[in-house]
C-alpha cells in the first residue's frame, strides 16, 4: 500500500506542477495580450484613476479634473471650454481624445516615459507618475479677440507668430464645450449625438481640419511665384491682360469683381484683387513652378502636425492651362485650411522663410520639471527674401489703400489680402469671406503676428460678402491683441 500512496502523492505533485506552469503562462506569457484586450477595463481604470495633467494658456490651466467617484474616476473639466475647444479638443471616457488631448495624451495621462527620472521605478512599483502639463503657445487675449470677432458667425481664425511659428490663436465658430463629453453614461452619449447631428458642426475644428477654397488670398502665392521665377520683374509694369480674360483653350471668360483691372500691373492686381491679371500670371508662371511654390508654402503636405494633425491643403499638380488659371486665383480645386493661409501670410512677414507652426511650447512634469520643449523648426524658404520684401510692400498697399482698409491699425505696419471664394455646384453656395494679414510694430522691427480669417457667413446678404467687410475687422482685432504687450 505504501507504494500506491507514493504514486498518489506523485500524481498530486504532478497536478501542482501543472497548476504552477499554467499560472506562470497566464501571468507572464499571456499577460501583455490580456492587458491589450479591448474588453479589459483595467487600462482605462488606471488611466482615469488620477487627475489628468493640465493644458495651460499663458501659464494658467484651461482644463481641470473632477472626481466622479465612478469606475473611470477623474473626468475632464474645461474652464472656458468653447473658447479653447479647437486647441484642447476633448478628453472623454466614452469617446477618447482629440486634438491636444490626443496629441499630448502620453504626458497628460502620465504614461510618457519622460515623466519620471527613473522609468524602471514605476515599472517595479506598478505606480504611475502624475499627469504632466502641456503649456501651449496660445495667447489668451489673441484667442479671445478672435473668438469675440467670430461670435455669431461661422468661420475660423488662425494666428501665428511669423518669426517662430508659435500659434497664437486657433478659433473655430460655432464651438462647443468639450466638458459635455467627459465621463460616461446617457448624458454624454446624448451630448455626443446632439453635437454630431448639429448642422452647424460645432465639433468641426475649422481652423485645422476644414479646407476652403482660398479665393483671392491665394493670389499672394501666385504673385510670389511670379516674382521668384522672374515672370514678373517689375510689379508696377502693365501686364496687358484683357478684362474679362478668356481662359486659355476655352471660350469661358473670367470676369473681375471690381473695375480698372484691364492691363493692370501686378501691384494693382493685388491691391484691387484683379482675377484676370493674376490668373494670366499663374498661367505664365506655369504648372511646374506654381505647384513648386505652392508646395513650399505648405500646400499638398498631409503630414503637418502642430502636434494635432492638420488637413492637407490642396493645389492640383496636373491641370490644363484654364484650370491652372482658376487655381492661381484660389478657385477650381485649390483648397486651404485657415492655418495654411496664416502660414502664407507668415512666410511673407518672415522674409520668405516659413516656420513650422506649433501649438505646444513645452511639456512639464506635475512638479514643473521640463519633459520636452518644442524647438522652432523651419519648413524651408517659401520665396527669396527679395520677393518677400516686395510682397510685403504689395500687401501693405492693400491695407493702406486697397481692398483691405478695414484691417488698418494706427501706429502699426499692416499688410493683408482679401478674398472672396466662390464654392458649391456652379458657385451657387454663399461665397466665403477671407482675410489674411500680418502686422508689426513698424520701425524696422519684424512683424509680430500673421492671421488668417475665414467667415462662411451663410446668413449674410451676398453682396456683403467680402473679405474686407466680414473678415478684415476680425483680423484687425486679432492683430491688435497680438501687438498689445501681453
Amino acid at each position: 500500500m505504501i507504494r500506491y500512496i507514493r504514486w498518489c502523492a506523485y500524481f498530486c505533485a504532478l497536478l501542482l506542477v501543472a497548476l504552477l506552469v499554467n499560472v506562470a503562462r497566464v501571468q507572464v506569457w499571456e499577460s501583455a495580450g490580456y492587458g491589450a484586450n479591448p474588453a479589459n477595463k483595467r487600462p482605462a481604470i488606471e488611466r482615469y484613476a488620477e487627475p489628468r495633467g493640465e493644458i495651460t494658456v499663458d501659464g494658467r490651466p484651461v482644463t481641470g479634473s473632477r472626481d466622479s467617484r465612478q469606475l473611470l474616476r477623474y473626468e475632464r473639466t474645461y474652464k472656458n471650454g468653447p473658447l479653447y475647444a479647437p486647441v484642447t479638443g476633448f478628453s472623454s471616457q466614452t469617446y477618447g481624445t482629440s486634438f491636444l488631448e490626443r496629441a499630448e495624451d502620453a504626458v497628460l495621462s502620465g504614461t510618457d516615459p519622460g515623466l519620471s527620472a527613473f522609468p524602471l521605478w514605476y515599472e517595479l512599483s506598478r505606480g504611475r507618475p502624475g499627469g504632466g502639463d502641456a503649456a501651449t503657445t496660445v495667447r489668451a487675449n489673441v484667442q479671445l479677440a478672435a473668438y469675440a470677432g467670430l461670435a455669431g458667425k461661422r468661420g475660423a481664425v488662425a494666428a501665428v507668430e511669423p518669426a517662430t511659428g508659435r500659434i497664437l490663436a486657433l478659433v473655430s465658430s460655432p464651438s462647443y464645450d468639450p466638458a459635455v463629453l467627459s465621463g460616461t453614461g446617457a448624458r454624454v452619449k446624448e451630448a455626443w449625438e446632439r453635437l454630431n447631428a448639429d448642422p452647424t458642426k460645432p465639433m468641426l475644428n475649422r481652423a485645422l481640419r476644414e479646407t476652403y477654397p482660398p479665393g483671392s488670398t491665394f493670389k499672394i502665392v501666385t504673385a510670389a511665384a511670379a516674382l521668384d521665377t522672374g515672370v514678373v520683374t517689375d510689379v508696377d509694369a502693365p501686364t496687358q491682360t484683357p478684362d474679362p480674360y478668356p481662359l486659355p483653350g476655352t471660350s469661358t471668360l473670367l470676369p473681375n469683381a471690381g473695375t480698372g483691372c484691364a492691363d493692370a500691373s501686378m501691384a494693382d492686381a493685388i491691391q484691387w484683387s484683379c482675377n484676370t491679371v493674376m490668373a494670366k500670371i499663374g498661367v505664365q508662371v506655369g504648372l511646374r513652378a506654381m505647384t513648386d511654390t505652392a508646395r513650399r508654402f505648405g500646400f499638398n503636405d498631409g503630414g503637418l502636425r502642430v502636434p494635432s494633425w492638420v488637413s492637407r491643403s490642396n493645389f492640383d499638380t496636373d491641370m490644363s492651362p484654364d484650370q491652372l488659371a482658376l487655381s492661381s486665383i484660389g478657385q477650381f480645386n485649390t483648397r486651404a485650411t485657415p492655418l495654411q493661409m496664416a502660414m502664407v501670410a507668415a512666410a511673407v512677414a518672415n522674409g520668405g522663410e516659413l516656420k513650422a507652426p506649433y501649438l505646444v511650447d513645452r511639456t512639464t512634469q506635475d512638479d514643473g520639471d521640463p519633459v520636452r520643449r518644442t524647438g522652432q523648426r523651419s519648413l524651408g524658404r517659401a520665396m527669396t527674401p527679395v520677393t518677400a520684401m516686395r510682397m510685403q510692400e504689395l500687401m501693405v498697399k492693400v491695407v493702406e489703400n486697397g481692398t483691405g482698409r478695414n484691417a488698418a491699425i494706427p501706429g502699426a505696419v499692416v499688410g493683408g489680402k482679401t478674398g472672396t471664394a466662390q464654392h458649391g455646384v456652379g458657385n451657387a453656395g454663399t461665397p466665403y469671406a477671407w482675410f489674411i494679414s500680418w502686422a508689426g510694430p513698424g520701425g524696422g522691427r519684424p512683424p509680430a503676428v500673421a492671421v488668417a480669417v475665414v467667415v462662411e457667413d451663410a446668413s449674410a446678404v451676398r453682396g456683403d460678402i467680402s473679405g474686407n467687410g466680414a473678415a478684415a475687422p476680425i483680423a484687425r482685432a486679432v492683430m491688435e491683441a497680438a501687438l498689445s504687450t501681453p
Binding site: M1, I2, R3, Y4, I5, R6, W7, C8, A9, F11, C12, A13, L15, L16, A18, L19, L20, N22, V23, A24, V26, Q27, V28, E30, S31, A32, G33, Y34, G35, N37, P38, A39, N40, K41, R42, I45, L124, R126
Partner: protein, 456 residues
C-alpha cells in the same frame, strides 16, 4: 503502463530506535507566530490602501486571530503532541490570507460586506478543530461509524434538492439567514466510509474475482456492489444538484482510494475511461456544463460576440494584470469578475494583487499541506488510517486543482471553493475538520510506540 500484480500490504518497517521522538511543538508555535503576523500585517495593509487609515478593529482582529491560533496550538500540544508541526500553521496562514483577500474585496462591494461572517465561520472552524482534536483520541474509532457516515453523507447531499437553487445549483440549505453547503461536509464522511470499507475488504478487492483478460480482474460483485452503488448515488445526486465540481471531486477521490487500497492499474484505467465517457456525455447533454466547456475552449468568445468579457475572461485578465509581482494588495481591479470574486474566483484576486510570486507561494502552501497528509499516511501502520490520510490529502489536492485549474483556464471551470481562501462558511469549517483529522492521523503516525504494540 503494465498492470501490476496485486499485492498484500507489506509489513511496516520497524520503527527507528530513537529514545525520544521529536515532538516539534516549538517549531509549530514559531511558524504559527509567522502565520498570524502575516495575516495581521495583510489586514492592516488592506485597511490602509482601501480606506486610508488603519482599520478600527485591527487590535481586536489581531488579538482574536492570535488567541484562536494559540488555543488551537495548545489543543494540539495537549492532545496530539506528536502531530506534524506544519499542518496547523499552514491552515492558519491560508485562512488568514483568505480573510485578508475577502476584506480587500469587501472594499469594492460596500453593500455586501462579508469579512465579518467569514471571520465568525473561521472561528467556528477553529473551535471545531480544537473539539475534534480533543475528542477524537484515536482515528480508528471512525472505522466503526463507516455506515453511519455514509448514510449521513447521502442525507446531507440529498437535503439541498428540496431547497431553491442558487446560481443554477441546488447545493445550499438556507435557514435563519445562514446558508450552508452540506455537500462540503459530506466529503469527509465519504472519505471515512471509503477508507473503512476499503480497509476491510482490501484483500477481497485485490485478489478475488474472475480474470477478464490477462491480469485485469473483475471484482466480485458482492464487494464492489456497495461501493459502486454509493458512488453512483452520490454522483447522481450531484448531477441533480448541478454541482459538478463536487461530483468530479468524489469521482477522483473514489478512484484514488480504490487504487491505494488495491493497487490495480486496471481500475484506474477503467475509472478514467468512465470519467471521460461521463464527462463527454454530461458535457454534451447538460447545457450548464456545455457552456462551461465552450468557455474553457474559447474564454474570449463572448467578447468577439460583442457581449463583453465573461467571468473566465475577467479572471484571466485579473491574473494577467498581476504579472510577476502583482499590483499590490488593494490596487487590483478583480471586482470586475463580478459576484463570484469572493468565492470561486478568490484566487484571481490573489493572482492580481500578489502576483505570480504570491500565487506560487499560496499553491506551494497547499502542496505542502497535501504532502504532509500523504506523509502521515505513509507513516501510519493501520490500513484504515493510511487510506483516510490519503483520502483527505487527495480531497484537498483535487479541490485545489479543480478550482485553481478552472479559474486559470487549465480545465473547464466547475464551481468549487478554494480551501480556506474562498468565502463560504461550510467550506472553511469542513477544511478545519479535515486538518483536525490530519493532525490526529499524523500524531498517531509519529507517536513512538511501545515495543509490544509494534506488531507485524
Amino acid at each position: 503502463m503494465t498492470a501490476l500484480t496485486a499485492q498484500v500490504a507489506e509489513p511496516a518497517p520497524p520503527p527507528p530506535p530513537d529514545a525520544r521522538a521529536p515532538k516539534r511543538r516549538g517549531v509549530e508555535l514559531s511558524l504559527l507566530c509567522g502565520a498570524v503576523l502575516i495575516s495581521v500585517l495583510g489586514h492592516l495593509y488592506v485597511g490602509l490602501t482601501t480606506t486610508g487609515h488603519i482599520p478600527r478593529p485591527a487590535a481586536h482582529y489581531a488579538a482574536g486571530l492570535a488567541v484562536a491560533a494559540l488555543v488551537a496550538h495548545l489543543a494540539v500540544r495537549l492532545f496530539a503532541p506528536y502531530a506534524d508541526p506544519l499542518l496547523l500553521p499552514i491552515a492558519v496562514l491560508l485562512n488568514g490570507l483568505g480573510l485578508v483577500l475577502i476584506q480587500r474585496l469587501d472594499a469594492t462591494t460596500p453593500g455586501n460586506v462579508t469579512a465579518g461572517d467569514q471571520l465568525r465561520w473561521s472561528g467556528l472552524g477553529m473551535a471545531l478543530f480544537v473539539l475534534a482534536v480533543a475528542l477524537l483520541r484515536d482515528h480508528r474509532v471512525l472505522q466503526r461509524y463507516a455506515y453511519l457516515s455514509v448514510a449521513a453523507a447521502l442525507g446531507l447531499m440529498l437535503v439541498p434538492v428540496f431547497f431553491p437553487a442558487v446560481n443554477g445549483a441546488h447545493i445550499w440549505i438556507r435557514f435563519a439567514g445562514l446558508s450552508f453547503q452540506p455537500g462540503e461536509f459530506a466529503k469527509i464522511l465519504l472519505a471515512v466510509f471509503f477508507a473503512a470499507y476499503l480497509a476491510a475488504n482490501r484483500t477481497a478487492l485485490a485478489l478475488t474475482g474472475r480474470t477478464l483478460f490477462w491480469k485485469l480482474k473483475l471484482l466480485p460483485g458482492r464487494v464492489l456492489g456497495p461501493i459502486l452503488a454509493i458512488w453512483l448515488l452520490s454522483v447522481g445526486v450531484l448531477v441533480l444538484e448541478r454541482d459538478l465540481g463536487t461530483s468530479l471531486l468524489f469521482f477522483g477521490l473514489f478512484v484514488i482510494m480504490l487504487f491505494t487500497a488495491t493497487g490495480r492499474i486496471g481500475w484506474i484505467a477503467i475509472g478514467l475511461l468512465l470519467a471521460a465517457v461521463g464527462a463527454y456525455a454530461v458535457g454534451t447533454f447538460e447545457p450548464h456544463v456545455n457552456s462551461r466547456v465552450d468557455d474553457w475552449m474559447n474564454p474570449f468568445a463572448s467578447i468577439e460576440r460583442g457581449d463583453g468579457p465573461g467571468q473566465l475572461a475577467q479572471s484571466l485578465f485579473a491574473f494577467g494584470a498581476g504579472g510577476l509581482l502583482g499590483a499590490g494588495l488593494g490596487h487590483g481591479q478583480s471586482f470586475l469578475i463580478g459576484f463570484a470574486a469572493k468565492s470561486d474566483f478568490i484566487l484571481a484576486t490573489a493572482g492580481e494583487e500578489l502576483g505570480l510570486v504570491g500565487l506560487t507561494a499560496i499553491l506551494l502552501l497547499y502542496g505542502l499541506l497535501v504532502a504532509r497528509g500523504f506523509r502521515a499516511g505513509l507513516a501510519l501502520r493501520d490500513p484504515f488510517g493510511r487510506l483516510l490520510a490519503t483520502g483527505l490529502a487527495s480531497i484537498v489536492a483535487l479541490q485545489v486543482f479543480v478550482i485553481a485549474g478552472g479559474v486559470t483556464g487549465l480545465i473547464p471551470l466547475t464551481g468549487m471553493a478554494m480551501p480556506f481562501l474562498a468565502q463560504g462558511g461550510s467550506s472553511v469549517v469542513t477544511n478545519w475538520i479535515i486538518v483536525a483529522v490530519l493532525v490526529r492521523l499524523s500524531d498517531s503516525a509519529r507517536r513512538p510506540r511501545p515495543a509490544e504494540e509494534a506488531e507485524a
